[in-house]
Subunit: 316 residues, 2 copies
Amino acid sequence: MSYEEWAAKIVTGDRRAIARAISAVENGEAAGVALLKLLFPKVSPAYVIGVTGSPGAGKSTLAEKLAIEYRRHDCRVGIVAVDPTSPFSGGAILGDRIRMQSLSGDEGVFIRSMATRGRLGGLAPGAHDVVTILEAAGCQVVLVETVGVGQDEVEVARLADATALLLVPGMGDDVQTFKAGVMEIADVFVINKADRPGADRVQQEVSAMLSLVPRKDAWSPPIVRTVATTAEGVARLREALDGFRAFGDQSALRVKRQQEKWRARLLEMLRQTLFEKAVAERLRDGAIDRYVEAVRNHRRDLHSVVEEIVEGSTRG
Amino acid sequence: MSYEEWAAKIVTGDRRAIARAISAVENGEAAGVALLKLLFPKVSPAYVIGVTGSPGAGKSTLAEKLAIEYRRHDCRVGIVAVDPTSPFSGGAILGDRIRMQSLSGDEGVFIRSMATRGRLGGLAPGAHDVVTILEAAGCQVVLVETVGVGQDEVEVARLADATALLLVPGMGDDVQTFKAGVMEIADVFVINKADRPGADRVQQEVSAMLSLVPRKDAWSPPIVRTVATTAEGVARLREALDGFRAFGDQSALRVKRQQEKWRARLLEMLRQTLFEKAVAERLRDGAIDRYVEAVRNHRRDLHSVVEEIVEGSTRG
């Protein structure tokens, strides 16, 4: 099968072709890059929604119900679930979980788990390439679900067109203790498990914070209360998310965000590609180990070593 | 003043020369690199101790008291306090704070705050170069204090020879909800504010977790209870930290860790240097903006664009 045939199958929604393409993209295979080059100029961008929050906030269940809601509005939906792996143990934190069984029979939904590969939570490298494959498969909406641990919510905000931040009453997600940078990325606040005591207090705290720190882009993030297990409030959440999309289209916000996202991706990919090329060309046969030993023993300093490698890699 | 003269002043402990050198290193000035090249081959490595934990855990106070304790044992002490800045607002999360006033008259202590520069918490780039300057100034112990938000404790572990993780009773730092990767980096657990109710429970939880997940390197992290405000337990903390150092010297652990650290630093510096060089040489006069627009409009795909830039930068 040629890349053109493979790409054509993806566009028709062939599930096996799509799954194999995502694997190829995720693993950085040449086939993945070839497919992306063929598909990218043709795809219509999906509405990419990040769903983030603390472990146990109900992200997975909410993403499932939100997918069902968008299916009801005739959207094809992709779901990318990012499973964090520990950088030290190498094992998955969450372990196996039975994912979104209610969607398993629906041909209009594509679900994919990705590992974060040695990073503590956050986005898998290549996540935006996976989104491209899902867009090629006809998804108008892509939900990216990720466990929020610090830096990572910020990265999700860079992938997504809109970010829904889940808070849960009584989970220690007090707004005062919430990480400062994290609150700023939420385009829609979701108070999930809103049937628990304390939902009013969380809502008041978020409201108070929003009135204290208004956003520069003039968007007022709505606060939506949901009970994901029963789908309560999920229709309102979809309306809030679609409202944010409409706001972005009317204002210059959507274009500005897309520019920021593509710039960040371009620079990150450039950084990684240059590095891999230099390592492949200049640091073979244990060269890194020898440099590391020289520095560890203070025989050479790091700056001189890096200069030597960089000069070598451009001469080669 | 030549770099040689400047370096000589640093070695004699001249505070102004040291402060200026740290600034030069932090800002990536040519003078900083020149000084590092002169100083690095001559320095004796300090014992670098990371002090990390949630906001409000008392890291700053504990670092201060630990510095006093090491001063009592005739060590020169450096303190590097990393202040997180939000990637979105650009402002400091912690704001101004009066730092460690009890140490301000002591000529054997060097205190320096660093910003994390647009990252959500974590280590400032160049932090290990600042450690080198402090080592050149004769510090035998360097305390690196950083707010822990996710990924960053892991980075502190890569800078430090030993990591002390602070937990506080009743602060929501329940071991079950603690991020998996974070617990694994603690060489010494500190239960600070141990005069509060719940200290026993935190200690039991940490003990239980340690017995469930033993470390591969055979070190059993001690659990030390402290009340930083009164210095209670700080002498025991120093003993625990010195015990870990002795363990590392006896086993192969210290060498192994140092190799890992220098390798990570080497690769990170190489990555950044290659990137900056390519941007300076190949992406002038709005070239990035033009590429970003082409990708945003789906006229070109990211992979082709990066290939073009990379080929250009090596040809140049």
